[in-house]
Subunit: 224 residues, 2 copies
Amino acid sequence: MTAPERSEPEAVVDLAGLLAYAELTAFDRMVDDARMAPSLEDRAALAGMAVAEFAHFRRLHEHLERELGVDAESAMTPFVAVLDAFHEQTAPSDWLEGLVKAYVGDGFAVDFYREIAERIDEPTRSLVLDTLADTGHAAFAVDKVRAAIDAEPAIAGRLALWARRLMGEALTQAHRVAVERQSLARLISGSGVDSAGDLAALGKMFARITEAHSVRMATLGLKA
Amino acid sequence: MTAPERSEPEAVVDLAGLLAYAELTAFDRMVDDARMAPSLEDRAALAGMAVAEFAHFRRLHEHLERELGVDAESAMTPFVAVLDAFHEQTAPSDWLEGLVKAYVGDGFAVDFYREIAERIDEPTRSLVLDTLADTGHAAFAVDKVRAAIDAEPAIAGRLALWARRLMGEALTQAHRVAVERQSLARLISGSGVDSAGDLAALGKMFARITEAHSVRMATLGLKA
């Protein structure tokens, strides 16, 4: 790909702030979900992955304050409501729903943030891409969910519905962020979201993310 | 102090298992409590300390499996009920109660585990003592609680009562562990808890811990 034009500082801070709070809250929720684990080993495994998310949060926090020279709390604050809303709407009711959420939610997040990161400058860009590196929980979730479906095929329908709900909620909130934060909207579309062409750019991005989601559903053994 | 007699392997596994689950559950609860923080910075700070507890859990888990050659889950299981009961009885209702709990609970735990660790062999002994190293949250909690009391002296009474309740609950559960697990009881008393002399050894240990608690209360600016 060709090098992007120089991204505006506001968009860079927004992306780092959004991702920092996303990591903090993902950490938090995964620790909660870990409590539903069928064994202490599984609980410790999921908690360990949550801790990896926290390490990502720390790096982004440091980056915001030291490299970008902004107050990390102020950079995260605009995104608290939207991320909290996502998690409130998608509290898993059992261990398997928690794993599906970790896998689907994480996959969605990786795709979404990568799309944006590719449009911003270094060094934030590399840090964001680095932060999106898999902490090992995709494989863990896939193994556990597939094994559970093998043992009891009847649960596949419920989990597929759950995954669809997660995806719908993630799209709703991601759209909200993309449209409400003008700096991010400009970044994604190349200019803004006031014209039909700009909205089309946004639409295309979400179409790519939705397609990747279908592939992940098949990996889990679920219908998209 | 003189070197202890060779401790029985069962007691060593019990201590490591107990402490491992204590760290896992402390991690968990501190992440919960962090959510009541008045700012994202405070939330991140407490979550960071929780993550340090998780690192301790990991080291103990590894020690159980690799050095002691036992299944970590089996070693922790006997202590799940007692530690969960402690946390259920002492769920903080706000940020300051959470900080007081982190400080008082942690101080209690350090004293209790150190008393036992001094009676067991290396290398578990060093690992346990190491694991008890302060993760920085004592100073954090003291600062925040003292500042809150300075700003609003009327809350001191409520927090002092809360601390007393925490201490009572911790003593209850620690007693339960010390008496129910014969291996630990023998370690503490030198033989068992069937005779009056053995119960006295247990009593003395808890008296020392209670005294240390009073010092901590004064540090917080609270009446013991």
